[in-house]
Structures are given as C-alpha cells and as structure tokens.
Symmetry: C2
Subunit: 101 residues, 2 copies
DNA sequence: TAAACAGTTGCACTAACGGGCAACTCTCTA
DNA sequence: TAGAGAGTTGCCCGTTAGTGCAACTGTTTA
C-alpha cells in the first residue's frame, strides 16, 4: 500500500504544527473560535477530520486542488450551491444553515 | 401614521392564508420542516418574523424588492456574502453555518 | 541531495449569474 | 371602480465564480 508520508492530514497535526505559527487568517479564526466564521476554516477543518488532502477532496468534487486552497483561505467567494456540492460530494456531510435573530 | 392595510406581514398571516394554497416550493418546504432547506424559506420566515416587507428589507440591504423576491423563491442563486449582508444589515441577525458530517 | 507529496499563488479566460429596471398580478381599502 | 401597497416575473447587462495551468514553497522520506 501507498503510505502517507508527510504533511498535515489530521486536525491534531494541524493544530500541533501550525497553530500560532503564522499570522494568517486561519489561525485567527481558530483563536476566535469561529465567532466571525469564515467558510474556509469550516471546510478546512471538515476536510482534515475526514483525513483528506486538498487534491483528494478536489477530485471528489470535480475541481482542482488550487480552487480548494483558495476557498480554504477565503481568497475566492463561494456560492452556496458550490459550498453544498463540496460538503455533500466531497465530505459526505450536510450543510446546515440557520439565522440567529 | 401610515397604517399597513393589506397583504401578509406576519408569519401567522402567511401560514393562515397561503399554507397549502398553491403547490409551490415554499409550501413544500414548510411541510418538509426544512429538511431539504432552501435559503429562500429561511429568509422569508425571518423577514416575516421581523415584520418587514420585501421592499423594506431591500432598502436596508441596498438592493431591490425584486431581488429579495427571487431569493425567497429560490429563483436566483445567492452568494454567501450576499446572504450575510441580507441577514446582518436587513434583519439584524447572524448567519450560522455548520457542517454535519 | 532528490523526488514526491501537500499546499499556495498568479494569471488569464469565459459561461454563468447576481442584481437592477420596469411591468405585471393580486389584495385591500375607500 | 381606482389607487396604493406587496409581491412576482421577464429581460438585460456587467461582474465574477469557477476553472485550468503552471510555478512556487515547504516537508518528509530514501
């Protein structure tokens, strides 16, 4: 079998290795506990929980790893339908939406 | 003062008057309890809870009532940023997003 | 070293769609 | 009747989400 050799593929690894390293948006979101949620962090975390790489997720969804990366870093705006597609096809999950008044 | 004379401006009125009348998406969503949520129904309900008309909501958000109508009826796709704008500026609420894996 | 994997970033393209305008329907009141 | 308010719908256009490619930076293993 092909063993995974490197890089971050679980949430724990990410938190251990990257948390607090760079002054990026991802870390700030973790610190803020997603109070000001960003979609990117949401997908990022879910993907790691599933143990998928960006390329693997991209393939399931029918897109490219570069696009996944852009979404996770909130570089590109996402349509809700696209978000649903990623979550359902790629992560086997469901998008939950609600309004807190 | 200018009194509101007509049409539906509360959730109760909507349910009383429209529920089950037409075979539209809105009714089906109400019946399904939003299992297959649609953004439209979400905004629609929140708007009625706030007692706003489409035009009033539109003005707060800086858009038109026609656009609000299209979103509520799921005719148009919504961007997440737009959804946030509507909920925050227009309804004074917060959009809650999560992924159920 | 190097090679392979994971992720980021830049650039350029285009079909799709967000969003506006205006005209329409429907309902209620006078 | 008519007029006004609430909501729907058709048409249109400019923007941009989504894509594709390629080059880049780490990081890990051999």
């Amino acid at each position: 079998m092909k063993t995974k050799r490197n890089n971050i593929t679980t949430l724990e690894q990410f938190k251990d290795k990257n948390y607090g390293k760079r002054g990026n948006a991802k870390r700030e979101q973790l610190e803020a506990g997603y109070e000001n949620f960003k979609i990117g962090a949401l997908i990022h975390e879910a993907r790691l929980e599933k143990g998928l790489t960006q390329a693997e997720l991209a393939e399931k969804v029918g897109t490219t790893k570069s696009y996944i990366s852009k979404i996770e870093n909130d570089i590109k705006e996402v349509r809700i339908s696209t978000l649903q597609r990623i979550i359902e096809l790629g992560l086997g999950g469901q998008l939950q939406l609600s309004i807190k008044l």
